[in-house]
Subunit: 111 residues, 2 copies
Amino acid sequence: MARAATTADAFNAVAEPLRRDILDALADSERSVGDLVEVLGLGQPQASKHLRVLREVGLVEVREVGRRRLYRTNAQALRPIHEWVSRYEQQWNERFDAVDAVLEELKERES
Amino acid sequence: MARAATTADAFNAVAEPLRRDILDALADSERSVGDLVEVLGLGQPQASKHLRVLREVGLVEVREVGRRRLYRTNAQALRPIHEWVSRYEQQWNERFDAVDAVLEELKERES
DNA sequence: CAAACATATACCCATATCGGCATACGTCAA
DNA sequence: TTGACGTATGCCGATATGGGTATATGTTTG
């Protein structure tokens, strides 16, 4: 047994830079596979494969129009990531506050 | 050439569930490797390896105390993820609003 | 200095991943 | 219906990944 981890969840889907690029490209408008291929400059099969991963974790949805498939983002699927990361938001704010405090300290010492 | 993608960035580091568990375990307090091994129930080498990945992308920092190494999170390194995901926050809110609107519609229709 | 302890590293195996190419599948047009 | 088009899938090769075991490295204690 080996490699138990790489489950197909949103975290993994988004770990691949190209897939983030795809999501970004779909952020404002629906696009066909061909569109994405042209915009992002990757191979058509690669695009289809990445889209499949994104689809399987619910990050994109498809609509069939003639022989084309129009993809769009489903931002909902990003919420688990957002929620997990947000738990740490306070920590980096605290640290900023700490830095601010030190700066304030130095400033006072100057005068 | 193949597999150009898997760069060692925060997105990838966090894609592994165990590494998220490690970060969560370190969220409130500094811990030694042995602590983590005990708390999370994984092998010691595995813990060290995951910690190394986390360290290389800046998600944790170390402090050496005697023969132990105390790890702690550096939430800062999560900001790129937070920022990227946050760009989509509005989209899922919009969608919630749409659902709300439909529900409102149905409610009115009932009365 | 030797032995116990804490952690990191090296190595191996199994498997997942990604890109590239060829091809299958479904749809539209002539 | 046949052929072009748009997209998905299958297969391959190269490589990265994660767990497991053994071991190296550094530190404390006796």
